[in-house]
Subunit: 183 residues, 2 copies
DNA sequence: CAGCGGCGTTCGGCTCATCGAACGCCGATA
DNA sequence: TATCGGCGTTCGATGAGCCGAACGCCGCTG
């Protein structure tokens, strides 16, 4: 997988264009570009500008970033208790990493469990991090410092993870699915 | 939030550069760019090429796409039973949407529940879709057609969602958290 | 103090991205 | 059959992105 960025982009544009059954000429027309520009781009020739790519992304109605990142394949299973365990030194809290952030992706997926006791205080993550918490058992108090909310089974919360925040269990066997998303 | 793409990129580059405590001159040097090029870019002037942005992304060690997408803010809570319910016509299956894909993001977050009976067959999603399933209760048989796996509480599976696939409950009150990720 | 190195901004020249036009090919129609 | 419209590719001209250099500013050192 050692294609250049431009080759990735060329493939993505061609893939999305054909998926939407647009001709090269029609996409160019709608994007306000010359056919020759789009032809060169799809051939992986040259070095297109942001405006050119943006105009294409708008017509194809895909996030800009989707034109520059490729996917992954196959069925992968992690059985209960077999994920990578991330212990916490100062609180009755355990995190299990299910799906780490592969190159080009922007999220980690965890199952977290805790017993009542000291809160798990997390330092700020990198700017733009958002945490999504889906409670699966017990009760949590969680969120940014000063803005914690109490959550029960089936509740969902999301909040910025790039500020100090914490997780605390109110009941034994408290659990949740945690998606950490990096923007 | 009506900044142009270039303004978004300029802000992102400046933010990430200062976060890493690099001077404009040093980032330019490492990226093999002229200082003036980077200065113009950070000022939101001009129309940079893919190569220019790529060189910067490599030095800053961030996914290319992170330079072109902005974040979101605040604590948001959806209580159990109050998300947008997405019923399935042909199977004892219910999906609840917790966090839809905002502009620039690439995932939907759902809680799904089902009773034993007909499988929920999902048509192919857009190319590059990956489905992440964390089982929270009961037992599921899920996956792409011909590759389904059986999963119990705490099990996790991910698989391509851009091929026909299905979900079926083996027990009453079967539930899971489903992250649909678009690449 | 003067000199130095580093900073970010501005400038003018060179290269190439993008333009419109031309081209050859294809399928549909009269 | 010839004509037409659409296709994608190639070509040459124009304008702007990127280059290196110059500039003024700043902090540090002798």
């Amino acid at each position: 997988m050692s294609r250049t960025p431009l080759e990735e982009i060329a493939a993505a544009v061609r893939r999305e264009r054909t998926r939407q059954e647009l001709s090269l000429a029609e996409l160019a027309r709608r994007a306000g570009l010359a056919k020759s520009t789009l032809s060169q781009l799809e051939a992986g020739a040259g070095n297109p500008s942001v405006e050119t790519l943006w105009a294409i992304a708008v017509v194809l109605d895909v996030p800009f970033s989707r034109l520059v990142d490729p996917p992954a394949r196959g069925v992968r299973v992690v059985r209960a208790g077999q994920g990578v365990v991330i212990p916490s030194e100062h609180s009755p809290f355990t995190g299990t990493l299910l799906a780490a952030c592969p190159p080009g992706a922007r999220r980690d997926l965890h199952v977290i469990t805790a017993e009542p006791g000291a809160a798990r205080s997390a330092h700020s993550h990198i700017p733009g991090t958002t945490e999504h918490l889906v409670v699966t058992a017990g009760r949590w108090v969680a969120g940014p410092e000063g803005e914690q909310v109490e959550l029960g089974p089936g509740d969902y919360a999301c909040f910025p993870g790039d500020r100090p925040h914490s997780y605390q269990a109110l009941e034994p066997g408290t659990a949740a699915v945690l998606v950490m998303e990096y923007v």
